[in-house]
Symmetry: D4
Subunit: 248 residues, 8 copies
């Protein structure tokens, strides 16, 4: 809450335009809905342009359905990540318009059409096994109102594949680069394009990849500037940041 | 055993009030019951005001039931942590008054009513997925004779939810703050309240959370003073320490 | 700021007792002093009973002296931790009443006498090399108005030394247990006393102690309940938490 | 090199407008200058709008001066990071217009004035000790042609300081959040602003901060969306990404 | 693409021998086949003498079969690693000539006979449990056209077994040494033979082997020269490098 | 093979007492049986007094039965560790005299009676959940011809239980101390007894025990001398070393 | 204290042979001398046959000299480990008979001659750089009354050197094997000798040895039985355990 | 020693051509020179074609000079790695023909001219700061009799520099790729060349590079086949393996 907003409320109280109780309600910051096990932040979409998102992992199906129901009543778009098919089945019983991206393990219920900018987000993967994480990023960016270009399996071991797709990659306002194993793709891209790159390490690989640690460290230590990193397998986070940048 | 206690026993031996064998029994410290695979410390509740607790993980159901039976004969309250439903089913066959907190995976058999102080313990979670650990803390604190206030899903990503519940949180004599992922909740709380905070990192999250390591390190490095930390997912430990402080 | 406080301010605005600007000042939360490189929180001592503390490591001597000067003008007690002798020399040039605990590397300027409760804090170390961390805890607790009992070099390798001092250790309302190497002291104490134990791992040791990691993990995994842990070598944090508990 | 560019070159060869040797030169990609121990990429500023930057650590002073001399001849702005005062002294002997930001340990030689957008970059630190990393980010952003707002020492332990500066922080088109110890600042900011946040963990702290690992993990696991992360102490990388976004 | 090749193409364009479009095709580097989820590099076998290999883990069975079908049409040998029996069953339905090495979990379809040099590759394991990784190396080397000698279970705990097989081990042009647990075999071999040794750590063991980390570190720190290392359990990588060296 | 043994063989060759081929056989070190996937070291029991032991994990049941059959023909005692019940069932079909210690997951076939010394080995556990590892140590020590005393569940959280059993613990010639969680038992024992202690960390615990790492580090950093350590959960290794020492 | 000892004391109290105060003194366990910063355990040599040892690292020179002075008065042998030359110089000023092993960084003052058994301890190193740790073990074993054989620089990279010294190594009743880098020596020795091996990892090496971690893990995971491990660079601990075993 | 060699010796003993003592000498394996702190393996050059190399780190200057003197008498080439200038100064006093590569910190004394094959070794670095490690590899390869091509500062951030030097890189029979920070160079090279690549991670970088761990993991997880890895900063090891392969 900015000082200007506070001042305005206080002046309205002084002028009697607003009662003490109303003012208090406003000053106690932003509203949310409390269902005990969760506090749902309906104000979020107004505030940030982004709907609240349900991270399904670690919640019971019952809790998830209840949260969706409350969000549904407000009319915004709904995104549930890390949802297995059992969860989707329960959700779609109640909300038949729900759709499921199986690779991304993401549930979406589209109820409004956010404004979509001209520019697009390039989503690049090093390998085929990185696609689920890339799809989570894509679903996230799309539900938030972005166009997405998917360029999959262009890792550095066969770098000519990357060169052939460089035009379309470079065309994006921002690039999401998803890679497991040694995670070198963002570093190579960073030397070839001059757009911000959101690097997403994946847990794809084995042995000394330590469940994605190797790709994570590679990306953090990138010798190419312009690269920032999100958590291992965090397609959602990458899609969210990319959407923010794409909409600037 | 304090020097005063030793002196008293020796004087009683000298005076003939107590036989050598009785004295020896007393001097060989505190009693326990030996069932081979376990040595049950019945004296504990007298000594510390806390019943012995059964950490069920790693024990066979047979061993658990046998230990409970021995403790039951002594009449104190019984708490079994990390117990799955199979264990509870076997326990409740024999002790129908046993109750089970499914989220906490805790078995309790209440047989006495410990004194309950006026003050209460605030148990706060950052997210919904942290609730099982918080419930383990709550069950522990309650069976030891404490009032508990649960404030769930008030993590720092929507900090206005925390502010709205700050009164009730601050009202506790001691605060348990449970958080996974980046585990920032105790640091923020530490700057807002002046009560001791027991921070409990959870393994909630994925990728570079390394099964709770990220939240653990965050809490250990808290820039806010007044925070001490227990093991990852250790709701029991937090409930125990909080109970100790609440009863001071 | 509690709802009651907000309500009161709003009513005073409504009644004209307080101007909009004054109210705004109050609503914009707590005051601090901004010197560019630092924002000094003078209100802290009023709010929490604890003065703001200067963590000297990573600050220039010039910055430290400037911060102390600003705090000095407010008249509260001042504590500077992790200060080497060079820093102290500069500080004492300007504030001759400043004192320095060399083992603890702590500067204190005592200007008021906080209320000191009857109860005391037991500070126990496993070895001689753990004393600097224990002294940091002691200095912190003392400047915040607590009595402290020091019981040093009673580690588990010669456990009879611990038994002989058990009376005085148990007499404390709360216990700080400082240990490096394998860090077993808090676990053993936890089985012998029924007071909350703040465990402080130290970086004392070598090889697979990994700069205190071994002691830290030991303490987090303590099989004895009642133990919570602060950061490696964080005597200040332990003294702060213990003071909070001692003053309950 | 895009297909269109290749096509154009080939057609010019076919038409005889360009000789085979000239075409070959163009097709062999972008030019650089080879001084044996280094290959200097003069084309970079044209290509990306960013001058090549000298990471001084691990290079001899002789090498650094030689690289600067070659870059100087081309007339672009020059930035040298991780340079100690000895290096600066040698550099300024030869290039008296060089300036040195001591906190940032950065050398700059400003020779052109890049276009500066209206929007600015907010650079926020949790503590005073994080300032050097923040200054590296600021110097980088400024030499690349950006306006910067510095908001220092507003960490989560005294969160009202953050609230008071929220207007100016929110005003930036992109935010750089620099924090050591537990690194919670970006998570809290992520819930309060709707701009992309570049999080920079610092090695400030001690013990279980493991030279910045704790802050790094915190930031990667942020429960607030909109946060991406660069390497520990990598002010330069943050300044570079932020500049890219600010100029979109 | 070498400068000579570029020059030749340009001269052919100049001379009109080759059209601009044909030249462009050639200049846009090497061909591959794009099936959306994968870009298959058919040119690889021509270029390097090695067929592209399918790392099956993380791909759906459907994707694997589709990739094999595309590769099958080109006529080269096909190798699929990390394939479970379900995958093999689906593959063999469509390609009955496919064979499966169960220990190695590798599918091979042999369609051409690469030239096989006289020299052979020695594949040595420390224990019986290391055989699956050794078999992956063997299958890889064989499909690429190499003779292989298997010497299994000659670890350092019974070093006389190693000595008795030293003649045949030394006879190889290059040696693959596979070991889990403490991984000492390559170090001992390195002191006894003067051939390059490719060391493969395996995840065999338990406890402080940390899924192969112990063997990996042992091999990287080998006091015997002549040893280089591939990833944990990476039999394929070892077979590939050994094949390269054997064919020099 | 000692120089004396070599000299004797050479003199017998010189004297014609032994043929060149016989001598060669002897000089080529110790015999073993080669079954391809394993080289069985029958000479081991003669050489060291210890039978070869089968580490069943990672071997197929077929391989295990075959190895046992070959060892059985030689008449020594047989020990198979880390064997699940399926393996035991297959083994006992063929060797009905095989016995199975379920807690230890160990198969034994006793065919000879090794000499058993008067002295015994004390095997101590901190908790009930550590018993399986202790039983593996006990089975190992017993099959190698040692008397064993089991003292279970005497961890440091209730140290009076340890004191009451100290006589029998101290009576052993060597002590095996098995503990998970914080692993403090060997340190405490090391200060109370003057016998060599073999410390065995177990993976019992959760969270920051990191699968036994916490107990391992505790034991390696023991401030009490006289403690050496084997791998996490390595009851076999502890039993083996203890047997060696007990038979000195 | 055994039950028999307690019983005897109680009967003497009953009979009036011993006063209550004398008995209390005895029952309050073993004596030590308290100098504030340290509690010196003079009874230790009587109890265990081993003098108390001063770990000098982390103690001030003043503290060390004071502790030695107190121990000196009791007449036992004195060992100070991890002592630099400055410490030794101060110690030798006051105790001119003190000697210094520079490689081991150990101070010894020999005042009594403990009984020395016939058998000896073999101390083996892999390399020359491991000698300081081996010397610490040797000094420790010698001051405790053991004969020692030093066999240095026989690491596995030139295993014939080990074979040539195998007779003398095998002749020891117990073997200390000291190795850095990959630490394979104890594993190889474990397959060649049937004596208990105390393995000492050293921090010798670089890169992925991680200050001795690689050698530590190698030794803990040794596939050869009969090996137990002490902390990295812990020559003292190895000498102590070996002395205990050698004196059995 | 091969069976054929043993047989030959035995037949000579039988025939009286060789005395028992001579034969014994031969059978006791290969000779070395024992100077107490080191066992120098003069036979090594004959056996493997490689001189023994002195790893100077951790040895005293006195020890180093003595070892060199003994090696010098045998006439082979001498290589000392990890030698600072102080060591070189002492060495060159006694052996004026010694030369010093300052970047590599390597001493060489060239006394014989090993045969040099036609083929060469490509040594590639990602950055300027990686040159010291590359020079260690180069010095090693050269003293062992190899031609070397140095291609420095062609890291993936400006990949056109790599392409321009690809011809000369590809021309090598084997490639050494040296890189710090994110270490992506070998992965990219692996997709462009069909020669064995020895990857050398360096400790160049900061923060989450963890002293070379990031580059090490990147290289171990390379998605491009044909890459094997040596220890962090281990230029010597890379030069040695490459020399072995180049001489095949």
């Amino acid at each position: 809450m900015t000082p200007e907003e506070i001042k305005k409320i206080l002046e309205e109280v002084r002028n009697g335009k607003v009662s003490v109780d109303e003012a208090m309600q406003n000053l106690r910051d932003l509203p949310f809905e409390d269902v005990g096990f969760a506090k749902i932040d309906h104000h979020r979409e107004l505030r940030t342009g982004y709907p609240e998102v349900i991270f399904c992992s670690g919640k019971t199906t019952e809790q998830i359905v209840k949260i969706i129901a409350l969000m549904y009543d407000k009319g915004g778009n709904i995104l549930g990540t890390r949802a297995d098919t059992n969860i989707f089945n329960e959700v779609s019983k109640r909300f038949p318009e729900a759709t499921y991206n199986e690779a991304a393990r993401a549930i979406t219920i589209k109820r409004t059409n956010p404004e979509v900018p001209e520019s697009y987000i390039s989503i690049v993967t090093a390998g085929t096994a990185d696609i689920p994480v890339a799809e989570e990023a894509a679903v996230t960016a799309e539900i938030f109102g972005n166009r997405v270009e998917r360029i999959f399996d262009v890792g550095v071991a066969g770098i000519h594949r990357l060169y052939q797709r460089l035009d379309i990659i470079r065309g994006g306002k921002v690039i999401i680069a998803v890679a497991g194993m040694e995670g070198a793709l963002p570093s190579v891209l960073g030397g070839l394009v001059s757009k911000p790159i959101i690097a997403v390490p994946t847990s794809v690989g084995y042995g000394a990849n330590f469940h994605g640690l190797s790709a994570l460290l590679t990306m953090l230590n990138s010798c190419a500037a312009g690269v920032s990193v999100v958590n291992i397998d965090n397609g959602f986070g990458a899609g969210y940041v990319a959407s923010m940048i794409n909409k600037l």
